[in-house]
């Protein structure tokens, strides 16, 4: 009996299908199926009573204004209140809102001026076409943009003050919309992180809402999606889960409230851990030079540097941080930003140090159980950064 042979084209198609099936199976096993490592972590830092409540929270000027505005609005709807008191309340609220807007505007313009001076002084000759090089044109376009803003949330407690503002610049398809959370905490342990299902492991994921609800978070954003990788330092709330390094930049929040970013080459794990690490993220890249200037180069690729939704954490001073969520992939509302633009935004927000967190569909900001931003579909994530609980 003659052995029938498969035609070459059928063989090629079969092999291609087999490759696809093998890759799919591998991805399913290694990137989708959760693997709990059983790792409980090692405590590497604690916030002692001396460092508790060591940072001063700002006065509640904003809150008063809001309350006044609320009062004025309620007085408007109150049929029993007199026309005179209505007018007084309205004018008082309007005056306060106006003076607050003026203050904000002058603060913003002076900060923008300082930042421009800083970047122009330290800027380098950006003539290279290296894919890792910051795009000076984009940086300058963001720094010079007419950023408009409106306050969308305000939270104040004994431990934290959070002001969330919606900001936008550009027009038409070039419009960029982002949400900036200005965060003051009384001590660094107020800025917490949580792992999905409270378990350290690979591909263990949960929705940002359930993680926030489980931990009683008032405010939450996505973290660095540590669960997608087997390498990179992971320290959460003073507990070290792993400290093997990969080739991404590292961001460390110390127990004294300082936040520093490191390249993987300069990161000395033992020396850094000895300083008291409260949180350590491994995603990146780092965006600013430690003095508020946009870095000359970013540790990234062309693909990752494209316009996307982004999340980033920034450091202004011990106890004062900025978390930004930029929306994207929605022309007309927000196109998303490159890393150069994100760095410029963080610089413009007054940050000294800033670090890119997981973005794309993961870029989500939640306040009081509800989404603040408009994410691109959204997805389940490995970890969150939160306040409250």
């Amino acid at each position: 009996m003659k052995n029938k042979r498969m035609p070459v084209w059928a063989m090629a198609v079969t092999d291609t299908l087999l490759i696809c099936a093998a890759v799919g199976t591998f991805m399913l096993f290694d990137y989708v199926m959760p693997h709990s490592s059983g790792e409980q972590g090692t405590v590497v830092a604690q916030v002692d009573s001396d460092t508790k409540n060591s940072f001063v929270l700002p006065t509640s000027g904003n809150k008063e204004t809001e309350e006044d505005i609320e009062k004025s609005v309620s007085s408007e709807t109150d049929n029993e209140s007199s026309a005179e008191s209505k007018a007084e309340a309205e004018s008082s609220a309007a005056e306060k809102a106006e003076s607050s807007a003026e203050k904000n505007e002058s603060r913003s313009s002076s900060r923008k001026k300082e930042r421009r001076e800083h970047t122009s002084e330290n800027w380098y000759d950006n003539t290279g076409t290296d894919e890792y090089t910051a795009d000076d044109t984009l940086v300058q376009s963001v720094l010079n943009a007419d950023v408009q803003s409106e306050q969308v949330q305000y939270y104040e407690s004994d431990d934290a003050v959070i002001t969330i503002e919606k900001k936008w610049f550009g027009e038409g398809d070039d419009k960029v919309t982002y949400y900036a959370a200005d965060i003051y905490v009384s001590s660094v342990d107020v800025l917490k992180t949580a792992l999905a299902e409270d378990t350290y492991g690979k591909n263990i994921k949960d929705s940002i809402f359930s993680m926030a609800a489980e931990h009683g978070a008032v405010f939450a954003v996505n973290g660095d999606f540590y669960g997608n990788s087997e390498e990179g330092i992971v320290v959460r709330n003073g507990v070290k889960y792993r400290d093997n390094l990969n080739d991404v930049d590292i961001c460390v929040l110390f127990t004294n409230g300082e936040m520093k970013t490191y390249t993987y080459e300069e990161f000395d794990t033992d020396a850094v851990l000895a300083q008291g690490v409260w949180q350590a993220w491994c995603f990146g890249p780092m965006l600013l030079d430690g003095n508020g200037g946009v870095l000359e180069t970013f540790n990234t690729t062309t693909y990752l540097n494209s316009e996307n939704p982004r999340s980033a954490i920034g450091y202004i001073a011990p106890g004062h941080y900025k978390i930004i969520t930029v929306d994207g992939r929605d022309p007309g509302y927000s196109k998303g930003v490159t890393l150069s633009e994100l760095a410029a935004i963080m610089s413009d927000e007054g940050c000294m140090t800033a670090y890119n967190l997981d973005g794309g569909c993961s870029a989500m900001m939640v306040y009081d159980g509800e989404l603040v931003n408009i994410p691109d579909r959204g997805r389940e994530i490995s970890d969150i950064i939160y306040i409250g609980g």
Partner: protein, 80 residues
């Protein structure tokens, strides 16, 4: 043995195809670390073993063919 000899090259093609795919993904998104993962390393060892066995079998097959060709040439020479 004959069946194995037929399957092995295809298995090697599949493994190599997977690694080309991972290599492209790794260039685009190195954060995902497609090539240096523990599972990828195991796959790489399998690919190396498969490549080695396929190459050995190919060499053996080629030498066998040469030998048979030589024998048939010698027998045809004797026949003349």
């Amino acid at each position: 043995m004959k069946r194995l000899a037929r399957i092995l090259p295809h298995a090697t093609i599949v493994m190599v195809g997977m690694f080309i795919f991972f290599w492209v993904l790794d260039i685009m998104n190195p954060t995902m670390n497609f090539i240096n993962r523990k599972a990828s390393n195991k796959l790489m060892i399998i690919m190396l073993v498969l490549s080695m066995v396929t190459a050995i079998m190919d060499i053996y097959h080629e030498r066998k063919c040469d030998r048979l060709k030589k024998l048939s040439e010698e027998s045809s020479d004797k026949g003349r």
